[in-house]
């Protein structure tokens, strides 16, 4: 963007331009939408080198590889949308009813207009939400690319909207590269990137949008929704939560430990909204589980995890302090049973297990978003269920068990954005499943067609003919008319026939 502060006047100008572009009708055609999606895919491919050049010096080669892998995920999202777009755009014919015979009815998706997509601004890395967690899990400026929340942008464009994207400011280098490069690959009168953080986001939120999509923290989610309320703008909020894992005793413990570990520490070292936050298990099984986790962690990261090339660092010193403070709490530090080391200079914290952290500590109250894993034990597995119910609904809830009955009970009684049995993280890579929270973990869903839907209005279109005029609808209301009316509304064929032949006559 040009120089000078992005203030209220600039924000108003931006929305006015987007609105003009949208009103011109250019975003409506299939051709325009497909061209934008292809442009994004091409950009991701062609600008790989430039994007990698924005990386920090301390990136080792595997991290660059992980970046390539991340790019593939973003591209896969484009490809899926391109493949399905025609089908998503098609009007859906629906059966009308006897009451309104003869008529034909159609549901037609149309764009909402101009959409604002925001990545987190005070919990900057809270939006690792779209096409799946990084199974390579390295923190670097490159994976910031995923943080640009390509998936909602793809959905908004596929649905025919004009878009303003406010990417996360946690990595200004990559974010500003994106801001420079994207406009050259797409129709930049309809797709804009605004860099900045709190003040830029604030002035953007003061404008009138037709849709706001926000990924980030609860506190800011509230602010976004209050701002949206002024203009009666619908919102989708992808927030976080404490995603619990219940581990039953009837499991394959080796596989369980590996899947939990990769879901926790293999996702940017715990810094993912759907990473397991804490574990619940029975007192009897705890030791088995802890031993298996310890063995797995030794295998994954070695005896000196802070030196492991496969362990991500904490994103910045603010969060580093937050996490170390959680550990320093006098009621918590004694519960550490594995790990607990950290290196402030390199912002690294080792995978840490804690056993039976007191429930009233900050660690058990706030989303951890880091490599600390509390294990809370109860006498009976049912108490684990109760514990989850006593807390806010999370974005994800996990259960490891071979017991089908326990599995069914979990699915039926635990409310969460999404549930995964016997694994972690995977369900988010499935474009056929809606991804989103419930309760305090969020409002609305996206991924795949759900992204398209979240940025669309489903317009009902009803066509009637002039035949079949039922005088029963109009006053004066004779007894006969009232009888026919009753029949018509209740779908009575006879009433319909009588009405069609114009009985009763006026």
């Amino acid at each position: 963007m040009e120089g000078g502060a992005f203030d209220g006047a600039r924000a108003a100008e931006l929305t006015a331009e987007l609105r003009r572009s949208f009103d011109s009708g250019r975003t409506r055609s299939y051709e325009w939408r497909a061209a934008q999606l292809k442009g994004i895919a091409r950009m991701i491919e062609e600008k790989e080198a430039d994007i990698m050049a924005a990386l920090h010096d301390d990136l080792a080669k595997p991290q660059m590889e992980s970046f390539l892998h991340e790019i593939s995920l973003a591209k896969a999202s484009c490809t899926f949308a391109l493949k399905e777009l025609k089908r998503w755009m098609k009007p859906e014919k629906v059966p009308a009813s006897i009451t309104t015979f003869p008529s034909s009815a159609v549901i037609l998706p149309e764009p909402l207009g101009i959409a604002l997509i925001i990545s987190a601004w005070n919990y900057p890395f809270f939006n690792l939400t779209h096409v799946g967690p990084t199974l390579m899990g390295k923190w670097n400026y490159v994976s910031e690319f995923r943080l640009l929340s390509i998936d909602p942008v793809i959905g908004a464009i596929a649905a025919g909207n004009a878009v303003a994207l406010k990417p996360s400011e946690v990595s200004p280098a990559t974010s500003s590269l994106f801001a420079k490069v994207l406009p050259t690959y797409v129709d930049n009168s309809c797709i804009k990137v605004v860099e900045g953080s709190i003040s830029e986001t604030t002035v953007l939120l003061e404008q009138k949008w037709d849709k706001i999509f926000y990924t980030g923290s609860k506190n800011v989610g509230r602010i976004v929704m209050v701002a949206a309320a002024k203009h009666l703008t619908p919102v989708t909020l992808e927030l976080g939560g404490k995603s619990p894992v219940i581990v039953d005793s009837n499991v394959n413990i080796k596989v369980t430990a590996k899947r939990i570990a990769v879901g926790k520490w293999g996702s940017n070292n715990g810094q993912a909204c759907i990473a397991p936050d804490y574990i619940l298990t029975t007192k009897a099984f705890a030791k088995t589980l802890v031993d298996a986790l310890k063995i797995t962690l030794d295998k994954f990261y070695g005896k000196d995890p802070l030196e492991s090339a496969d362990l991500s660092r904490v994103v910045n010193d603010k969060h580093f302090s937050r996490l170390t403070n959680l550990l320093n709490d006098q009621n918590v530090s004694g519960t550490i049973i594995y790990g607990g080391q950290w290196d402030e200079k390199r912002l690294k914290i080792a995978p840490t297990l804690l056993l039976d952290v007191p429930h009233d500590t900050m660690m058990m109250d706030e989303e951890i978003f880091g490599p600390l894993l509390p294990i809370i034990t109860f006498e009976k597995i049912e108490q684990c269920f109760d514990f989850i119910q006593s807390k806010e609904k999370p974005l994800a809830a996990y259960l490891f068990t071979k017991d089908k009955k326990l599995e069914e009970k979990f699915v039926q009684t635990v409310s969460a954005g999404g549930i995964l049995i016997n694994d972690t993280g995977l369900h988010f890579a499935n474009p056929h499943l809606p991804f989103g929270g419930v309760g305090e973990s969020g409002i609305g869903a996206y991924h795949g067609k759900f992204s398209f839907d979240t940025f669309s209005h489903k317009k009902a279109v009803l066509s009637r003919s002039f035949a079949g005029e039922a005088s029963a609808r109009y006053p004066p209301y004779t007894q006969q008319k009232q009888k026919i009316l009753r029949g018509l509304i209740n779908g009575s064929f006879i009433a319909l026939l009588l009405a069609l032949i114009g009985w009763p006559r006026d």
Partner: protein
Amino acid sequence: MEGELKEVREAYESGKTRSLSWRLSQLKALLRLLYDKEDDIFKALEQDLGKHRAEAYRDEVGLLIKSVNYAIGNLRKWMTPNKVSVPLVAFPSRADIVPEPLGVVLIFSSWNFPIGLSLEPLIGAISAGNAIIIKPSELAPESAEFLARSVSKYLDDKLVKVITGGPDAGQKLLDHKWDKIFFTGSPRVGRIVMAAAAKHLTPVSLELGGKCPAIIDSLTNARDRKIAVRRIIGGKWVACSGQACIGVDYILVEEKFAPILIDMLKATIEKFYPAFDTLSKIINKHHFQRLASLIKDPSVADTIVHGGSMDSDKLFIEPTILLDPPLDAEIMTEEIFGPLLPVITVKKIEDSIDFIRTRPKPLAIYAFTQDEKLKNRLVSETSSGSLTFNDTMLQFAIDTLPFGGVGASGFGQYHGKFSFDMFSHKKSVMRRSFLLEYSFRYPPWDGWKLPFMRSVFHFDYVSLLLRLLGLKR
């Protein structure tokens, strides 16, 4: 109030609403209520709105019966989890979308269809397995009282409650935490509701209003013209004297046809209303005065071509037609919600499209035309909650069409299955087994693992298979 809210929450947590049998029992009870208490409903509506029993049946009771039956017939299907495909790489696994209730929901209803707008969302909320508090509008007090008395008698009174009262009661309710709020009413109050909901991150649906235009193109057939006029009147005065969110607010017609249209409207009004005893009254003095002031200004009053008489004691306003009132007058900038019908003339009927586009998106657009080109342009160049050709109001009665607004007319849709969906959370559930472990998922990430991952995420099953064949489990 606190005690009641606590009771509802506890009753919901007990899990009683989850079973199909509970939900069906409530829906059937609602049906019995509608059959048993029909006369009471007619009486309440007559007292609150002077509504004729035929209209009360046509617009509220009858539609509710239809909706309950539709829900009863489809509920099992709606509750069934929806199986979705899983990428082959996740084999063996199973993925479903499982609908579950949101929890305890709050329904605010409006005064113009006080029974219908309270109970229609209730049907959806019950079907989805929620516990419900209904807060009916205090402007229709007899209907509110009726609901408070009867709902608790017929339905599970611990899980479905009616709380009556004015704005204070509404505000008190909004201070609490809900799992969903459904609001029908004005944009002004809609903003307050959404801002209050934001504190608790509560999802909301807002059914607001707008100025719903009816475009009247030239119709070649005299019979069609007659029917069009009847349907327009059906969408204006016959619908609660114009006090309907999807009622026709104003008309757009080519200037050369305006005189004919107005004559036909006058004649048909006379036929429908030889006396005005079937015309609903204006809800109260406040709205009566609001409507009276819309036509007070001489620049507006001078454009009245029919009607205009009022009786503030009887809260009666005659069906009134205006021809080209000033576009910046309040009657053309605010939702009228009453028996005043501006007829706005345009040079060409296509000009209607721009007229509508430059104004806030309405809840409904009506167009009487046989011109396919005009129809297509309206479909693609205007946006509204719904678009209906050659009739008015009927889209409301079709269970398979989503009902709701867009832009200034609101967000969130209901009716039929959309009601069930509106009050549900669609939970993603993926189930895996412990079989088939891919070691490439886990650190340490040696060189060979990355190309593997790439094949996986490209859904490149051929190279995945080739790699798999050389892999150690």
